[in-house]
């Protein structure tokens, strides 16, 4: 009898222990409670003893940004949905200002990483404009990649003119097909730059699928901007195939932007790669557009920062490795910029330039003369050995100028008697 009892107890005890353990609620971390109750930032009256570990309502969620991430994370992870809902409402009700913004952002950033669906639901449920948008922004930024469909759901539910560019850019890195599906159904504004973001990533991962999508997209999506991104992505996936395809379309103006973009991307990666691309294009507008995208950095005016930080000496030398119909109109601007940095280096480089191309380099350099200091550019013009090219170079400079502009320019140039006679001769034949 006692043996049977002992055996029964032996069996029942671990079973009952396990049942009790599995059913036990998980208490919030007491250290979190302490931190959230004892923050120095809050007024003393906000501090107080909690009723117990289950009493999430006593947590001072307003102080969430005063605790370490791990504590905030453990707290939100352990909190039931009702507590999270109450807390988000309490944060929304805080007076406008830095504290509210900080608390809302910390709460939603943290929650988005733990439970994206709840974070989205709670953000959408907020009424007040500023905290609502702070929450929406925090959620969309912090959600892990795998949960991005939740952000898509949030944007769709918002039914506002919200830019989806960041979402598409991020989502299409890992699941471009899902991002494309979302874009196709999204009721808000979809810009071509959103489609371009999608194409850039999708073509790098699966160019055939990206091309198929673009082919069946609305006609307004098949524009130079989106093709440029498509080819930029495809080049990453299969350079030879992308080059060949783009070369076959080089005569179509719609693809010139793609050629420019690919040339620029390749040049920043390796000038040799950019050269290979340009040489893969048929002679003509495509090649000039590709080189012009690089040289344009020295002739255009940019506001703000220079994204590529190209060096004029490197670009000048690189241009000369290309067929001269590609560079002879453009190289002068680049040399002119180089001269501003290091005139002696330009002179030395020009001196060792192969005789066969030197005249054309000098002609381009002359035509790109600096209005504030034209003597240097004109000096290059007078150094052209072919008299016909020399005269033609000067003729082109003066042909489109008004009489006043010519006079103003000539006043600035120091001319020897022989050079003055040559210029006079050119001007007489205009």
């Amino acid at each position: 009898m006692w043996l049977v009892l002992a055996a029964a107890c032996f069996l029942v005890a671990p079973l009952a222990f396990a049942i009790g353990r599995i059913g036990a609620p998980r208490p919030p971390d007491r250290s979190i409670e302490h931190a959230l109750r004892s923050s120095e930032v809050r007024a003393p009256e906000t501090r107080g003893a909690a009723a117990g570990p289950d009493d999430f309502a006593n947590i001072r969620i307003e102080n969430l940004c005063d605790v370490g991430f791990d504590q905030a994370y453990q707290l939100l992870r352990s909190a039931p949905r009702e507590a999270l809902t109450t807390w988000s409402r309490r944060l929304e009700a805080l007076p406008a200002g830095a504290r509210r913004t900080a608390a809302v952002k910390t709460f939603f950033k943290t929650l988005a990483q733990i439970d994206a669906r709840t974070a989205v639901d709670l953000a959408l449920a907020l009424d007040r404009h500023d905290p609502r948008w702070a929450a929406i922004g925090s959620v969309s930024n912090a959600v892990p990649v795998a949960e991005l469909p939740e952000v898509a759901r949030m944007f769709t539910a918002l039914n506002e003119k919200v830019s989806v560019n960041d979402l598409i850019g991020t989502w299409s890195r890992s699941d471009p097909a899902a991002a494309a599906e979302f874009l196709a159904a999204y009721p808000g504004d979809v810009e071509n730059e959103d489609v371009a973001s999608l194409m850039m990533n999708w073509a790098a991962l699966d160019p055939a699928a990206a091309a198929n999508w673009l082919a069946h997209a609305e006609p307004k999506r098949r524009v130079p901007e989106t093709y440029a991104s498509f080819y930029a992505g495809w080049v990453e996936h299969d350079r030879a195939a992308a080059f060949a395809d783009l070369a076959a379309r080089a005569g179509d103006e719609t693809f010139l932007k793609a050629i420019e973009t690919v040339a620029q991307n390749l040049f920043t990666e390796s000038p040799d790669a950019a050269r290979a691309f340009i040489l893969a294009l048929p002679a003509g507008a495509g090649r000039r557009a590709a080189a012009g995208q690089i040289t344009g950095y020295f002739s255009r005016v940019y506001l703000g920062s220079d994204p590529l930080k190209l060096k004029a000496d490197e670009v000048s030398k690189w241009l000369l490795t290309l067929p001269d119909d590609v560079w002879h109109e453009e190289i002068g601007q680049v040399i002119s910029r180089w001269r501003r940095d290091d005139g002696a280096a330009v002179e030395a480089w020009l001196a060792q330039t192969p005789f066969a191309v030197r005249d054309r380099v000098l002609a381009s350099y002359c035509r790109a003369f600096d209005w504030d200091e034209p003597s240097t550019g004109f000096g290059a013009g007078f150094a052209i050995s072919d008299p016909h090219l020399r005269r033609e170079t000067f003729r082109r400079i003066f042909a489109d100028m008004t009489e006043e502009a010519r006079e103003a320019l000539l006043e600035k140039i120091e001319l020897s008697p022989a050079h003055a006679r040559e210029i006079t001769s050119v001007l007489e034949r205009l």
Binding site: M1, V4, A8, C9, V12, A13, L15, A16, F17, A18, I19, G20, R21, I22, G23, A24, C65, D66, G68, F69, D70, A72, Y73, R77, P95, A96, G97, A98, R99, T101, A102, K105, T106, K109, T110, Q113, I114, D127, R128, H129, D130, R132, N141, A142, P144, V145, A146, K161, T170, R173, S174, P176, N201, A204, L205, E236, L303, G304, S305, P307
Partner: protein, 470 residues
Amino acid sequence: MMPHRRVFLTTLVSVAAVSFAAGRLLPKREVATPVLPGAPEAQRHTPESLPPSDLGIQIADIAALPFDQTYASFKSTSPETLRSYCKQLQDIPVRPKRQAALAAFFKALIHVDPGLAKDLILQLNKADRWTALFAIRDTAPPRSMQAVAEVLLTYDRADISSCSWDMLADTLDEWGHSDPLALKQFLENRGDQDVERYYGELVRNWAAYDPEAAQEWMNDLIARRPPSPELENGGSELFEEHAWRSSVEEMLTAWVRGFLEHDADAAMQYVLVNVATPQVSNALVSFAGELFAMSPDRARDFIHRLPEEQRPRAIDGVAEKANAFVRSNARDNSTSPRFVAEWMLQFPADVWEGSISNVLHQWKAADAGELLSWMGDLTAETREAVVRRFPTYVLRETAERDFASIMQARDAGLRDVLLEKLMRGASDAREAMIDVLGRSVLPAAEQARLAAMIPMPSEVMSVAVDDGSE
């Protein structure tokens, strides 16, 4: 036999009850830390023992892992292993996959070891560094904001800011929201890194918590280096002097705004008493706007207590709060253009007329039909003032849309007067507007009459020169 059975059952039930209670009440052990799939438990602390090829495959898929799993794993991973993970991610050849993985890696790492995250980001190539920077900026908790700011400080300032945005300012502002004292320390330790322009972010956030301390710090700073007076007639000055004067002006404005957040009543009293001083007067526009955002009623009462000549500037601050993205029927519509416009109309027209253009502009962009309907219901005198300020500057690209929006007006009189105003503002889009008129439903004579009102660009310039106006 019966007593034996009772003892048997009692004993059994007691044992079960005690065991159940023990299971329920004994503290649970720490939940086992998840590790990246495939990383053997015994090996996860020792990078040299991890088979590189296996780990490479696992870490490359990091973007697919739930944050919980990555975070827990990183917490128990040595810095050396994390460095090796980063190196492997950099080697992923396909850019989108690499960037997705790097973003997930740094989003987790910034929570675990912000210093290491910063160090690793600085070792990345330019393109990948942007990806990692955005990842930590988007997710960093307050205590990791310093690492984000330090990474941003390594960039050329022109790469992370323009005239309308500044990533470093945004980051410092977000940090200052939660820990202004840490931000103060950070800025003071980097006096040689051109951070004075961000003192406004510090002072505003600090004043929201402790206005006296923020003011003392600011005043001490200004006393040690008083800004030089602005040169008249466009005289040239050192850039540093100009920048410092701007920083000081910004701090003074920022302090008043921070004070408002700390104690609205005291701040209002302070502004009312000191509004004649340049530093408070300069802050009035933004102060009134912030106060309106807190409480439109308090803003109204505050503006009524201002000297008359200051009221239009305060109203300007409120007008700036009108937001085209807030609909009139939104749950919180207090910054909808309609709410702001109607709030402004509580004041006499001479107080709001100079400011209402921005509100109308926002409203027109959001819902031109609603705006025109509202204008149609205004009293004649108010409508006249609103029409005078109705935005009608036209670009080639917007000519059709601008014309169509005015054609929505049901009130024919209002439509006609706005169309005439639109034509007079269409000099830069003359051809486009004539084309739009030609395709419109208006009678030909009306089309011609309106077309004749569109000035040539030169006419506009000569009028401006004659008037001596801009």
